[in-house]
């Protein structure tokens, strides 16, 4: 079976074969579990599907540089995939759905052209996308909702959560992530700094949000 992202609606019926397709010089690979996908979708490229991973219902997924996203189930013995750059493991349906929405948005950002902001904005770097995905996965796994995912003019990504209690923004570039937290209410407070140098972990920021 050939996976063609341009045709859509791809839900393999039953197979444990590796699926490979080349479309417009881009290669799409999917590992299909005989139990069939829990959720599949056709996104204008790349094609993304979520496929069950082992009996526990966990999944793994891998981001392969520009354009390529692969979610894998059990690995066929006859294929050795490249080493994952952003390993993903999620175990619940809500997180899976959130992850698809987030990955879709990141893919949109990766398509932005130079000058996309009308002020000479840089294209979004693949490394910043990968760094964002890593942080997103951690946040979603802890119960955070899908944030607003916006491009920065310098080629980075900003994740934003806003609710009645606080505003939380994580600005992510090739090299580092900075955080901005603003607490609302009677005692308005703001805090900003780099995630690494302060010793503040993502959990502590998310505690204000959730």
């Amino acid at each position: 079976m050939t996976l063609n992202p341009l045709e859509g609606g791809l839900i393999p019926d039953q197979t444990d074969e590796v699926q490979v397709s080349e479309v417009n010089d881009l290669r799409y690979i999917a590992y299909v579990d005989p139990r069939g996908p829990l959720l599949a979708g056709s996104l204008m490229p790349p094609w993304v599907s979520l496929i069950p991973y082992e009996a526990a219902g966990e999944m793994s997924a891998t981001l392969y540089g520009h354009w390529r996203v692969m979610f894998s189930g059990t690995r066929p013995s006859n294929v050795t995939p490249p080493e994952p750059r952003v390993p993903i493991r999620v175990s619940d349906q809500r997180t899976r759905v959130s992850l698809v929405a987030a990955v879709t948005r990141l893919q949109e950002l990766q398509q932005l052209r130079p000058g996309w902001d009308s002020y000479g904005g840089s294209p979004i770097s693949a490394v910043a996308i990968e760094n964002s995905l890593t942080i997103l996965i951690a946040a979603l796994a802890k119960g955070a909702p899908v944030p607003a995912i916006v491009p920065t003019s310098t080629g980075g990504v900003q994740l934003e959560w806003h609710n009645s209690r606080c505003d939380l923004e994580l600005e992510i570039s090739d090299r580092l992530a900075t955080a901005f937290l603003s607490l609302r209410g009677d005692h308005v407070r703001t805090w900003e700094g780099t995630l690494v140098s302060t010793g503040w972990h993502l959990d502590r920021f998310l505690n204000y949000l959730l």
Partner: protein, 140 residues
């Protein structure tokens, strides 16, 4: 007495006077859910590029008898936010100058470091004049 960067070469009180406005184009990608059922502009709409934040200078637009929407000519799908020059200069301590180009004679720059806190303050006071569309022509 509020301070400003008035003595800096990167602030021109005469060309960009207090009490006037500047306008910033807003890409559709910066128009986001506010978490409470509405929409808001992202703080990233107020980021520097090459050391300053580009704007359209309202005083120059006025001299040319143009409305602020002139800043959107050739930029379909973008929104427009208004910022008060007095707030930028006296409250956030940023400098403003005219930086005219051939295609945008009303072009100007807002100088001074845009920390996350500053960007959020600008986001908080920006008045949306034109809501961004959903079909930015620069998104392939």
């Amino acid at each position: 007495m509020p301070t400003s960067v008035a003595s800096s070469p990167q602030d021109d009180l005469k060309a960009v006077p207090n009490g006037s406005s500047v306008y910033r184009r807003i890409a559709a990608d910066w128009w986001i859910d506010d978490g409470e059922g509405g929409r808001r502009v992202s703080s990233q709409a107020f980021q520097d590029k090459d050391g300053y934040m580009s704007v359209a200078v309202g005083a120059v637009l006025d001299e040319m008898e143009l409305g602020p929407e002139a800043a959107l000519n050739g930029h379909e799908g973008y929104g427009l936010a208004r910022l008060d020059v007095s707030f930028l200069r006296l409250t956030v301590h940023l400098g403003l100058t005219c930086l005219p180009t051939e295609s945008e004679p009303w072009h100007g720059g807002v100088w001074g470091k845009k920390t996350s806190g500053v960007k959020n303050r600008l986001q908080g006071v920006a008045e949306i004049v034109v809501v961004p569309g959903n079909d930015s022509p620069n998104s392939s």
